[in-house]
Structure formats: structure tokens, C-alpha cells
Symmetry: D2
Subunit: 344 residues, 4 copies
């Protein structure tokens, strides 16, 4: 069986294992206060062009989302997001567990717009009962989105402008950030993205690390006491260096970007193969997730050979499924898949 | 500088890195649903003599404590524990973050007794205002305790009896479980301990793993929907196999116990060395943490050579400090420390 | 100005003030443990035909909703409700403040169906990722709904059957219960309604009391420790007798039902008057809230004379507004309004 | 039976009932937005000498404490208080229910000092592990305390100075404020008290009202969005005017202070009577609560005639009990009690 069902099926880039092995018996202080983490934080800031940012390494995406969001919001506030947003759908109420409502907005290809934010805030504060309604307190987006799509430069610029008009911090979930930035459809560099939000994270778990997300806080007003929040959410890794080592390795010589680019290239080959067969794709993803719309017969042609993920019903005779590539995807497996698609 | 200040200064047992490297490109499902995790869960149950238990791998101790405690309690209940308990002191209110009060009882050498639990519950329910007071809903202890001490078999048996009399699940935090069980002062096997509580965990982070704790739920009434709780607390590791690999390795051929035993042996050599110099020890720890009571001059004799942890003020002229050994402690470093102690 | 904008514009039925005055210097124990509360609880149970129920008096609707819902749910569960449900829209995230997600279902005239519940639960547990999604843990409905509509006997019977199939307690918010039960369109008695749910409340605030809601718990499994939950949510009124006096008075000789019936009768006269003018009504309310769809000119005709509530935009030239009657509505004011409608 | 067991055994001052009756059919907007509440807020500000304050009326003490504290704190912070503080002991974890740890300090006669706050904060921020410990975020005290005692002017001045040094808002729970201010031992006026804290409340429930507490926020930084917090905690009374009417009545012509003064005078007569019999008093209360230390025989002499509250065990042969007076206590009942004491 060849797995294309997700982007966390393998371990990590071999250089990370090498580095973990090399440093294994080095003695360091705990909780991310070691020199390796210092170097990794410096590397992240250098790559992002944000010398003044605070960088924190967290274990996973849900933890990062919960920690950041509950750190930002006041108790009576909620987080605006796309109704397809990970926090709205797939985190077992982790945001609500911190006392905050998720405020979903209708998505367009997985994205939301500045005007949606403006309209929501205008409506909220114009409503005579607004004190009876959760106040919008921040905006959460994913880049790329859960649908594999990207915000254009104009769209993100306008969304961030709307956020600043309404004094809403903008938080970008970058669980798959590398796959977004390396897409040929991406109009933004990481430096630009860092300027167009208040806090974001560079996803490691799905982009070459064993685990870990690097949270980058650029808004000074959000920096204070963040480590208390990390600990309060059970996210203060005793051997914090494990995260430092991984991000240091990934940031060195552009490794993170190189391995993500390859994954995107493979994904676009797969997309092209489906389209060449006249198979319609769900959405417009130009990143590492691809969503062909298949008949039952087409799905069965893959069964037992290729693992994919069922994404949802399309119509009476078609389903949407997901094929993912990752930093670990092998050329030979892509070729095998391309051949299988060609034979559909 | 030689580090004795904590038991999480190094990476992990080399066999774990080997195993991670070997399996690195194997493709597995995520979230702990893979066959390696299955094997690891089976190994844990075998070692604990609890074939019917549910085993879950979590990333760290605070996360394990929070997830277990909030899974057990009803909203109006709190967790009884020693006032030195980790949840009472060092988790930035992670338990309160889930809406529950920690109910501290005065400790004796880090432990609490069945009679303290009985008295607390009797007083609570006899109080005419008990509905105005947080209801005791479970008991949390650490084995070994935060002071390095152990519950005797009689003490734990009676504590658990008290818990059952009052219908309070007993949860044992085993962040340093291996160092407790391998102490010559320990009267309990892991099988016996597993019978004397409702849920406990086998600490990995401090006992040979990179990170991770294996939660073992023996009480059927606490098993349902635990994975929802894990995800809700941001603890569902995407590459769950990382934890499975580690615990599978540690459980194989008694590795976990062997490496912990060595650490305890070293610690007791260090204790003996202090005592031989007439230096009083704080508490009665027979595990991997040792707490000599030192003068300023004695402390300075170590500075720059040996890292230890300041634990608290003892009297005008003395401080309590902590020296820890771990699975990674080297013979040569112990010898250097013993020599330094001898020269005090 | 004559107020029809809500059903809480006046104080309370005069008999309540008389009773408060009569008993003012009687000395009673606090927190609802007095004999007046005992009598009131007995009266509520008699009226509901639920001799085995537990009855608790709470101060207001949001408090009742929050206390009941957080008492029922386990941490990883949420409450299914209509997307127009009060808890989903107008309680400033009070449910989320207790850590629980509200799970809105599309409403039909303010109601949801048993089949919607069945489909939601089937989909949830069939989803391979269900542990990543908030688990449905109960169902919340309002009777009458926020739109003034009613569940038919068949609809409520089927909804409750669905709840029992999926082991979901059904909670009925009866903030306006009297206005529902006294509608000519209502197919249910209070005794029948009490048999078709696990917990409900009899709204006092909007139905003749100064304030207060009587929570009736019929499901034995939900009764334990409810007073702890009340106190934990700040809802344990020191002078609990204030609530006892009010509900005792309202339950005596059917006062509650008589005064609510009059309000509904008036409301239906108002509805008929709008319809007689050819003015379309929004929804099918046969209770004390009526929602005519008016032009700007029509709205202005009321301004300065009659207070109503703006409910929402209908189309480019029309708005939905709300006219409410209550137990306190005076015949002469209804007549004035009817005359004004006739002149539109 | 004559009740002295608490200060909430009766209804309310008759003028309030008169005013409620007079205004009963006046139509007002809900949620405290009516003109009566406006007048009441103005009256409170006038009495407190705080023209710039925000005043909010809440239903009860636990609700006021929870709403204020959760409004002030950031998630990782806790509230310092005396270990006898109401929030620490008697609110069923309502503060923890909002995610915050209560941080109890050892009390002296129910009070804490500025130096205790300074020492706690110094220790906290000097601790290398402070990010693993709940951060002190505010200070909560009661005036008078739960033991009936008072802060001297010097003590409160120094405590507030300490709070400002550490940037901790000071919140004064004034559930029995009137009984404190009217004590002959009180060194503070309400205007002075209002200057020595950031937020406080004027207790109504125990001081002449049916129910209700008037929260006075003087610190501009704490004012924003407080009404969202009220609603989120289920504390937004639909008929908010009920609270406005009560506080307006109590503030008029010093009624609040007059009726509280009488209660304190009676209490001090009772205290003197016990002392005249050579009976020791527990603590130094000069307010409406008195705590004689009685033998079993002495306690039995009251039984069946006078209700008092058991407060705790004093020694093998003595118990502490509480006798309370209130605004409603009658001269004749005090005389009967004085006679009974004389006969002990």
C-alpha cells in the first residue's frame, strides 16, 4: 500500500534524526531555554525577516491554535474564521474548552475576505443587543487553507487592513505553511506574510519535522507572558531542545522550503494527471493536497494499492477524495500513482 | 559543567533513536492508530499485568494530568492532592484552566494518607454548607512524590481503600515512575501499583524517552471517550507512532527498569556521600532526586562545575538544593561529583 | 409611548407583590431551603404531574441554560440546538464559557426535528475523525421557540424518541412556556410536555414574575449534585424564598396559565389585525410574539406612539419587526394598537 | 424561634416594596438600560464621590465576584486573597470555573497586608520557575471581612500601595459594606474606600435589599465591555430596574447607612452582653457578626429559642458560633437575646 492519505505518514527529514543523534547526550536546560532553541529562534526570525519577533516552539497544531487564541482573546470575545477552518471543525472544541466561541464565516474556496470581517463587525456593533452576543476579538485563517487554497496578496492585504480597522489581531495557522509558500500560485514570500498578520506559525509536523510548530509573534502587544500560556496549556516541552533542533535544521540552507517545494511539484503532477483524464477537481488547490471528484469505480481502482482520504459526498454518483503529498513522498510512488490515474 | 539539576537534560536512550531511524520512512496512519502503537499498548499492558486496561500515549506530564483529571471530574468537583503535588504548584493553573479547583492536603514527606482523605470527605459532607464548597471528586498522588519519596504498600493500600469508600478515583502521576519502582525502598511492583489505583501513567520524558507518558486506565468507568479528551486538550499527536516507538522500545526486555535502576543507584551513592560528610539531607528520598542541605560555602564549591537546582531556604545559613540523576547519567560524572562532595 | 417591544417591560403580577409584602418580615433559612420554597416546589410538581421530579428555582434564563447544560454534558460534548436557539445566538457565549460548543442545526420555523438529530449523530459516529469533532451530548430546544412557534405533539414525541435512541438528554427552555401552552395552536399540556423531555423550565421572568425560572428535572440521572452546579454558577440566591414566593403564587389556582392565556389572546388579535390589512407576517407564531413585515412608512406610523422591536431586514423595502404582548398588557393598549394598525 | 443565624433571613426594607409596588406597571426597557437604573447609578456615584465611575447592578455576591474577577484577569493569572476569603472557601469553585486559581494568603483576623502581597510577588517573579506557576493578577479582599473585621485606614492604604507597585487591581467585596462602614471601629468613609481600590461593590442582599450588589468600577482600564461579562455570566437581569429601584431607594437620604448602623449597634450590645458574662469572643469583630465561644451547655440554652450558626470547633469543650444582626433585626428580639445571655 502506498499512502497518499495525509502528510504525516512518515517520520521526519533524515537530517533531523542525524542532528538529534549528534546532540543526544549534550546536557541542556529544559523548557526551551537552551542555546539550541536560541539559535533556532534566531534562524526563524532571520528567515521571516522579523528581528523583533518572539518565537515559541509548540508541539502541535491544535495546541498552538488553542494557546495563541486563548492568549489573545478577552473572555467575552470569539475568533472569526472560515466555516471550514480547522478550529471550527476538527479540534474537538479545543477553543470552546478555553471559554471562547468560534465565529464561522461562509468560506469561498476555504478563504474569507476583509469585507466579510468588516460586515460582521459593523453588524455586531450596530446591533442593539450586541452585549448579548459574543464580540469578535480576532481573526483566524489558515495558509494554505484546509482546502489547499491560498490567499492572494491583495486578499490578505485587505483582510489585514480590515483587521486593523477593527482592532482585531490576525492569526495565521501555518500548519502547511511551506506547501503554501512553495506553490507556483503563491504571491507571497514568508517575509511578506509575516508583515500581514500579528502572529502566525510555521508548521513543522506536516513539513519535515517529527512534530512541532514555530509560533512567530510580531505584534508587541501579544508577546507578554506567552510562556505562561504555553505551560498552562500543557505545551511546555521539558526537553524543549527537541523542537529547537528540528527547526534549526529545517531553517538551515532553506531545507524547509526545498522539501516542501518538491511535495507541491508532485501534487501538481497528480492534479494534472487527473485533469488529463477529464476528472474534475474539487476546488482550486495549487498546494500539496488535491481533491479529485471520483466515481465509485474510480475509487475502487485505487483500493488496496493507494491510500487516499474520503473527503465527502459530491453527488449521487461521485465522491470527493483527498490525495496528499509531503516532504517524504517518493518519486517512484508518484510515478506509480500517475500510472494508476492514467489507467482509470 | 556537569548537569545534575534535573532529569531531562539529555535526549533519549540511544535504542530509541535507532528505532526512530529504522522506522522513519515507514508509512503509518496518524493519531496513534498505527500498528506500532498497538504493539506498544500491548507491551505496556503486559508489563503492568493489566490485560483489560486502556493505554494512551500523551506528550507530557502537565498534559497528562490535565487530560486525565478533567476527564474524570464533574464540573463542581476538585482533585485532592498533597500541597506539594505537581498539579497544585507547578502547572500554571492548568487544572483550574479546566474549571476545577485543586484541593491541597498537608503533606508528610510529600505523601498523603487514607485517613486524610476520609477526614476531608467526612468534614465536607457533614458541613451544612457543603453545596457551597467544591466537592472532592478524585485523589491525585505522585509516585514517587515531588520530594522523591515513596508510598509504602500499606499506605497506598489504605489510601486506595479510602478512595473506594468515598467513590473517588485514584490517579497516580508516574512522571518518575521508573525511579520509584527501582528504588531499594520500594515495596511495590508495577503490577501491584496498577491494582491500587484507577488510572496512572508511566513517565517517559524523565525516564529514557525523548518525551511522552503512557496513561494506563484500569477502571472501566473512566475509559469511554478518552480520545476525545486527548484531542480537546491538544494532545493528539499527529505522528502518534513517535510515542509508540518510544514506549515499545522502553518496555522491551525491561529496558525502562534497567536504566532507571542505574539512576537510582547513582543517586543513592550521592546521598551516601553527603551523609558521609555529615551533611543533612532534606527528606527521605530513596529515588533519583536528592536534597542536601548546604551552606553558602558548600554551594559555591560546586558552582561552575556542577549544575544543581536551588530548592528553597532551609534556615539563615542553609539552603536546600536538588541533585538529580537520570537514565543518562554517566559513571564518570557521578565519580566527579562524589569526589567534589568528599572535598567539601 | 405604549410598549409592545418585549415581554419584560413591567414588574410582576400584583398578587406577587402582595405576597412579598405579607411575608416580608418572616424569618427563613436561606438558599431555597425554606418552607415557602418547599411548598412552591410541591406546587410545581403537582401542576406538572411529576411527583418524582426535582425542582430548582433560578434567577434567569441564561443562568438556567448554562447551569443545566454544563451539569449534563461531559467536557468533550456539545449541545445540539436550532441555529436560532437562544443559547446559539443571544447569551454572549455563556455556554462556551463553560467549555462546551453549541452545535446549531438549521431551523424550520424555529424548530428542529428528530430526523435532524438522528442524521447528525449518525454522521458524527460514522465519521472516521469523530474523535476530532465535538460529540453531540444533549439536545436543547425552546418551547415556544424564539420565533414564537410550537412543536406539535408528534414532532416533540419524535424528537424525544430520537434523543433516547442516541442517549441524548432533551432540555426544553421554557422562558415563555406559559405563552406556548396557552396558545390555541398548542397540542400539549404541561403534563405531556414534562413526559417528553428530561429537564425543562417554567419561565417566570416573562410570564408574571419579577424574575425567576423553575427548573424541573425529571430524569433521575441528572438530579445528583445540581445544587452544587447552581452555586458554582453564582445562581444560589441567598433569599431563595423570593423565588419560592413567586412560583407559589403563580402556580396557585392556575394564575400562571390564566395570565399567559390573556396575553396570547391579545397577540392573536394583533396578528389578525395585521393580516386583515393584508400585511404579511413572518413565520407562523400563534403565541405572544408577532412578527409583521412592514414598510418604512408603516413602521414610521407607529413611531413615538408604540414601541416595537426591530427584528431584521426582510427585503429592500420591508423589515421584520416584533410586537409582544405579556401578562401585563392592558386591554386599552391593545385597542389603541389595533386602531393604529387599522389606519396603516 | 428568633433568627440570628444570618443576615438574609428577611425580605427587604419596606420602602423598597413600596417603590416596587408604585412602579410596578411602569413600562421600561430591559437589562438595566432604563431611567430608574440611570438614577440609581447616579445616586451610587454621588454617595461614593466617584463621578467618573461605572456602576453595574448584579444579582448576588458570587456572581459579582466571578464576573469582576474573570473580567480583570488574563488566563494565566490568579487572585490573591485571604485564606478565609469568600472566593477561596464558599463559592463552589466559581472562580476556578472561569479558569483562574484562587491564591490564598494566611489571614490575620480575616485580613491580609500590603507586605504579604509584596512578598508574594517578589517571590513569584524571583522564582526561576515562575512561568510554571500561576501569576498573581489582582487582589481580592472583603470589607468587612468574613470574620467581621475591618481594614484600618493605614492597612488599606498600604495594601493598595502594594497593589499599585505590582500593577495588581484591588477588588473589594462589600457584601456587608454597610455594616463595615457604620461600625464605630471603622476609620474609612465610603468616599475614602472608593479611592483605595479599583473596583468594589456595595452589598444589597445582606443590607436591606431583596437582592443585588452595586459594582462600582473606578479604574478606567477595567470598564470596557463589562456588560458583555455580565451577560456571559448569566447576570444580565431582564428587568434590570428591579435592582435600580432597590439601590435608588437605599441610597436616598442615607437609608442604607442608617439601617446598617442600627444593626451594628445591636450587634455590639450583644457582644457586650457576652463579654459581661465573661464569655470570650472569637476575633475582634466590631460589625454585625459576632462570634462567641460557647460550651455545649451554653449552646443548648439557646436551642429552640434563638437560631445561631455553628462556626467551628474551638477546643474540646467549646465551639465558635455566630450571631448576626441585620437591617431587619427588631429591638424586641435583641432584648430577648440579651436577657437570654444574661441568664447563661
Amino acid at each position: 500500500m502506498i499512502y497518499f492519505q495525509c502528510d504525516y505518514a512518515e517520520g521526519c527529514h533524515p537530517r533531523i534524526l542525524e542532528k538529534l543523534t549528534e546532540t543526544n547526550f549534550a546536557q541542556t536546560p529544559g523548557y526551551g531555554m537552551d542555546t539550541i532553541c536560541d539559535e533556532a529562534r534566531a534562524a526563524v526570525k532571520r528567515v521571516c525577516g522579523t528581528p523583533g519577533a518572539d518565537v515559541h516552539f509548540l508541539v502541535g497544531g491544535t495546541q498552538a491554535n488553542t494557546t495563541v487564541i486563548s492568549h489573545i482573546l478577552r473572555p467575552w470575545q470569539g475568533a472569526l474564521c472560515a466555516d471550514t477552518g480547522h478550529i471550527a471543525v476538527h479540534e474537538t472544541g479545543a477553543i470552546e474548552a478555553t471559554g471562547h466561541k468560534v465565529l464561522p464565516l461562509p468560506n469561498t474556496n476555504g478563504t474569507i475576505t476583509g469585507d466579510q470581517v468588516r460586515a460582521y463587525c459593523t453588524d455586531h456593533f450596530n446591533d442593539g443587543s450586541h452585549e448579548h452576543i459574543v464580540q469578535p476579538g480576532m481573526v483566524y485563517i489558515s495558509f494554505p487553507t484546509e482546502s489547499g487554497t491560498l490567499y492572494s496578496k491583495a486578499q490578505l492585504t485587505d483582510l489585514y487592513a480590515a483587521c486593523r480597522e477593527w482592532n482585531l489581531p490576525l492569526f495565521i495557522d501555518g500548519a502547511r505553511l511551506g506547501y503554501g509558500l512553495m506553490s507556483p500560485a503563491c504571491e507571497l514570500t514568508i517575509e511578506e506574510l509575516a508583515q500581514l498578520c500579528d502572529v502566525f506559525y510555521i508548521g513543522g509536523t506536516k513539513c519535515g519535522a517529527l512534530f512541532g510548530e514555530a509560533v512567530v509573534i510580531t505584534n508587541d502587544g501579544l508577546k507578554k507572558d506567552f510562556r505562561y500560556s504555553i505551560k498552562r496549556h500543557g505545551g511546555m516541552l521539558a526537553k524543549g531542545r527537541l523542537l529547537g533542533i528540528q527547526f534549526l535544521t529545517l531553517m538551515e540552507e532553506g531545507l524547509y522550503f526545498d522539501i516542501c517545494k518538491q511535495a507541491v511539484d508532485y501534487a501538481l503532477e497528480i492534479r494534472a494527471a487527473f485533469e488529463a483524464k477529464g476528472i474534475e477537481m474539487f476546488g482550486t488547490s495549487m498546494t500539496n493536497q488535491q481533491f479529485p471528484i471520483l466515481t465509485k469505480t474510480q475509487m475502487e481502482a485505487f483500493d488496496g494499492k493507494f491510500a487516499y482520504e474520503y473527503w465527502g459526498r459530491y453527488d449521487e454518483s461521485h465522491s470527493i477524495v483527498r490525495f496528499c503529498t509531503s516532504w517524504a513522498t517518493k518519486r517512484e510512488n508518484v510515478d506509480a500513482l500517475l500510472a494508476a490515474i492514467a489507467e482509470l
